[in-house]
């Protein structure tokens, strides 16, 4: 949590003032938050280049592909718009996964929660008619959020009531959601008229997240989900580090024994944390349907719920870290497409590099070994040696 020193009243004794001064470990946290991911990214690009070389891609093409990647992610207004558009669902779902992590839960089910949330949003956005955008849009987003929450809460309830491990149950709920989506998309009240393949009716205009850069260029896809994403980052930060509920989540995640000791009800905490995580993933699905896709199709989530796990890991389950990690992954996504176009290198390479980044972040000791000067620091004092 942020260490703001306080200055209440002039009568504070000096010893107390000293105790209220922030602890000096900002440098090491900076290192953890930024240098490690950057070093990991560098290594991932290096290995990516090696793989390309091994598959006899010419060095010039490799260089060109990295340039294309930079160009496609941040090189133009269009690129930035694409990066941000890709980041929105990653950050939203990532926040949910990160929050669950903080509470000691491994929510693998963001993908499934996105699917049911997005599907519910789609249904609400073409079956409810006659509302203004001011009512209809919030309604469809809330429906997606609520259905995602309920879906994730199933896994929470199973764990709280029977001890079923959330990893197993969320994986199974993912499978169910994918089949459920295919099944539902063939129901007459959902399937687009005149189509035999599974595809939903289109989202009504009143339920669409407006494109916010349309006034500049009609091709810019960035939508108002950006504001939802930024608000979610702030809300989750507040929840985790300022609210009573978030404190209970964090105690439960850090030390279940201490949570029990503190009288925190484990079952309730699990269900609540899962529900909030699911709400965020559901919202991610909702913004995709309402802001980007305009309909639900089989596999419309495109594995974003799984990439979001990586985003949460990379962001160290911190809302701001998740925001940055989501932007990075969004940039890789957008840049990868450009790389494929410009240099003819398959977008699979991006998937490989994303995975490599996560491996290096998950194995910080390895990165420290490779770049010792970046991490040279004395061990913090006071560690117990007895």
């Amino acid at each position: 949590m942020s260490g703001e020193a306080q200055s209440s009243g002039p009568a504070m004794p000096p010893e107390m003032k000293a105790l209220l001064a922030p602890a000096i470990d900002s440098r090491s946290s900076l290192r953890e938050l930024f240098i490690l991911p950057l070093a990991a990214m560098f290594l991932a690009m290096l290995i990516g280049a090696l793989i390309m070389m091994a598959t006899s891609v010419a060095p010039a093409t490799i260089l060109q592909s990295f340039i294309a990647m930079a160009h496609g992610s941040v090189g133009s207004l269009h690129a930035i718009s694409e990066t941000l558009t890709a980041a929105i669902p990653l950050v939203l779902a990532g926040l949910g996964i990160g929050l669950a992590f903080r509470a000691g839960l491994f929510n693998i089910g963001a993908e499934g929660q996105m699917v049911v949330g997005g599907l519910a949003t789609a249904i609400a956005s073409f079956s409810v008619t006659g509302l203004s955008i001011w009512l209809h849009l919030p309604l469809v987003l809330l429906v997606g959020l609520a259905i995602g929450a309920v879906y994730a809460a199933i896994a929470g309830l199973l764990k709280a009531a029977t001890g079923a491990h959330e990893v197993i149950s969320t994986i199974m709920l993912n499978l169910i959601s994918i089949r459920l989506l295919d099944y539902m998309l063939r129901q007459p009240f959902i399937q687009k008229e005149g189509r035999s393949d599974p595809i939903s009716k289109a989202v009504l205009e009143t339920a669409e997240l407006p494109r916010i850069l349309e006034f500049l260029d009609g091709n810019l896809r960035l939508h108002a989900g950006l504001f939802i994403m930024l608000a979610a980052v702030a809300v989750i930060y507040w929840l985790l580090f300022r609210s009573k509920l978030g404190f209970a989540f964090r105690i439960s995640g850090e030390n279940p024994g201490a949570a029990r000791y503190a009288g925190i009800r484990a079952g309730l905490t699990i269900v609540m944390a899962m529900a909030i995580a699911g709400a965020l993933a559901g919202l991610a699905g909702a913004t995709q349907v309402s802001g980007v896709l305009g309909r639900a199709t089989p596999g419309f989530t495109a594995g974003i719920g799984f990439d979001a796990i990586a985003v949460a890991l990379l962001g160290r389950s911190h809302p701001v870290g998740i925001l940055l990690a989501g932007l990075l992954f969004g940039a890789l996504e957008a840049g990868g497409r450009q790389m494929q176009v410009d240099a003819g290198v398959s977008i699979d390479m991006i998937g490989i590099m994303q995975a490599l980044i996560i491996i290096f972040v998950a194995a910080p000791l390895l990165v420290r070994r490779i770049f010792p000067p970046l991490f040279r620091e004395r061990r913090r004092g006071g560690d117990e040696h007895d």
Partner: protein, 519 residues
């Protein structure tokens, strides 16, 4: 085999764990190694057992320099370590545990259990250890399990045995038997390093003593030439008073009353059987007993962590048998948990966060659903000052405080509130002597303010020092009750009660045995 440590130094980051240590370990001698937690005893012994390598200095075995690159080298040189926490497989027999890792085999990986058993039995009888070699570990009492650990190192032909805090888990009677085994080993020519922080044990068993403080040897010699006070002063670096100046208790009204409380665990084994006890305001009641005889469950029943299966718990005139943990906490029950790392604190949280670990929801530190961190920080700083928690900042991670300061932090959190009953479980475990003194004073001060104090400790000395009345627990029951006003309780009788021999004030003992496998 003689071992000399010459100028051993070891540094962990800014912490100088060992500095230029010289130590002689001689065959046929017990060397007492005395020091507080964090004095560097474990680091030194880990260097000797090959787990760490020293930054400088050398180890001479019978005059020859030895280099250990791992624990294997140390074992091969004849050094055996008996850890404080046993490393035994509960479902294996004694013989299987002893030979684990050095199994005698013949032919193609055929386990020659017969040969092993004969060898183990031979060692067993030579030193009079009386371990049933075919019993499963889980069926054996802790004292015997410890002997299995010793058998393990002897089986690996150790000539030097390092015993790390060996008496921490034993009853006074078991300690006597254990000392007999140590003497037998010494007389057979083994060199023994006996690590402890208990002074009277050093005086009883050690032939020589070395005292460590802050990584340095600050004194050594013949224990007979030192008094307990001398040793304590060397260990802490200043004079220490052991007996807490404790005035006569003036018990008031009953604050806590347990009537016929029983508790069954998930497997329906009885953990507590018909517990009747009371604690009055203005008195300290101690619960003595060997670990695992129901003390943990008793604390859980009182604090609400595990609701009692049967019986009634009364607190300040109210029935709290079914009251939640949080509600009991609010009513004024403070709980210092037995294991601060497992439940009393969160190492990755700041000191300030730990100070509101179980009161973060309270109106005094919240506005609506939001925690008012400014108030929390200010309060935490105050609590640190008034309870001597030494930390540079309340924003420091609690995990980087010393054990003593962590425990003082827990105690500050619990005592700073308005409480009526303090349930202090192992209040000084893993805490330096200076902090022990301080914590004891705080607990007595609580009593003198008219609060009820219940202390649960496996350190009998602590119970005897602090308590006005003492209950002894054995196999989930109250086995005996003793009056200790003015320190009059009979240590020997308590020890016998701890071992299950009933000698105290009579208690009904006609019920059949229904206990679970408390171990």
């Amino acid at each position: 085999m003689d071992i000399e440590l010459r100028g051993i130094s070891k540094r962990f980051g800014p912490v100088q764990a060992n500095q230029d240590i010289n130590l002689d370990i001689r065959a046929g001698e017990v060397l007492g190694l005395l020091g507080e937690n964090g004095a560097g005893k474990s680091t030194l012994m880990n260097i000797l057992s090959g787990l760490y390598s020293a930054d400088s200095g050398e180890i001479l075995i019978d005059g020859m320099p030895a280099v250990f690159t791992g624990p294997g080298d140390s074992i091969a040189s004849g050094i055996g370590m008996v850890h404080q926490h046993f490393m035994l497989v509960p479902v294996f027999s004694v013989v299987e545990n002893v030979i684990l890792g050095v199994e005698p085999t013949s032919g193609v990986d055929y386990l020659d259990l017969e040969a092993a058993r004969a060898q183990v039995q031979e060692i067993n009888t030579r030193y009079g250890m009386e371990v049933p070699t075919d019993a499963l570990i889980e069926d054996l009492p802790v004292g015997i399990q410890q002997r299995v650990e010793i058998l393990k190192v002897l089986f690996r032909s150790a000539d030097v045995l390092i015993l790390d805090e060996p008496t921490a888990v034993l009853t006074p009677q078991e300690v006597e038997e254990f000392f007999a085994i140590v003497r037998a080993l010494r007389d057979a020519g083994k060199g023994i390093v006996f690590i402890t922080h208990k002074l009277h044990e050093i005086l009883e068993i050690a032939d020589r003593v070395s005292v460590l403080r802050q990584g340095q040897v600050v004194g050594q010699g013949d224990p007979a030439s030192f008094s307990e006070a001398d040793l304590a002063e060397m260990m802490v670096g200043r004079p220490v008073s052991f007996s807490v100046g404790r005035a006569e208790a003036t018990p008031g009204d009953t604050v806590l009353e347990l009537a016929g409380v029983s508790l069954f665990d998930a497997a329906q084994d009885a953990r507590l059987v018909d517990i009747n006890l009371s604690v009055h305001g203005g008195e300290v009641v101690g619960i003595a007993g060997v670990q695992g005889n129901g003390q943990t469950e008793l604390v859980e029943a009182i604090t609400g962590l595990s609701p009692a299966t049967a019986g009634k718990i009364g607190f300040a005139g109210q029935d709290i048998t079914r009251t939640s943990v949080r509600q009991r906490h609010r009513m004024g029950i403070a709980h210092i948990p037995e294991d601060r790392h497992k439940s009393g604190m969160v190492g990755n949280f700041t000191v300030a966060e730990n100070m509101v670990l179980n009161s973060y929801y309270d109106d005094s530190v919240t506005t609506g659903v939001q925690i008012d961190w400014r108030r929390v920080h200010a309060r935490a700083a105050e609590a640190c000052l008034s309870y001597d928690v030494r930390t540079p900042s309340v924003f420091l991670g609690a995990g980087s405080l010393s054990g003593g300061n962590q425990q003082k932090m827990v105690i500050a959190r619990e005592l700073e509130r308005d409480v009526k009953l303090i349930v202090a479980s192992q209040p000084t475990r893993g805490v330096d002597v200076g902090s022990i003194e301080y914590i004891h004073q705080q607990l007595i001060a609580c009593r003198d303010r008219g609060n009820a104090v219940l202390i649960i400790s496996s350190e009998l000395d602590e119970i005897l020092d602090l308590s006005d009345r003492i209950y002894v627990m054995f196999e989930g029951r109250i086995a005996a009750e003793f009056d200790n006003r003015g320190g009059g309780a009979d240590r020997n009788a308590i020890g016998l009660a701890m071992a299950g021999v009933n000698q105290g004030i009579n208690r009904d003992e006609t019920r059949d045995e229904t206990r679970g496998s408390a171990a």
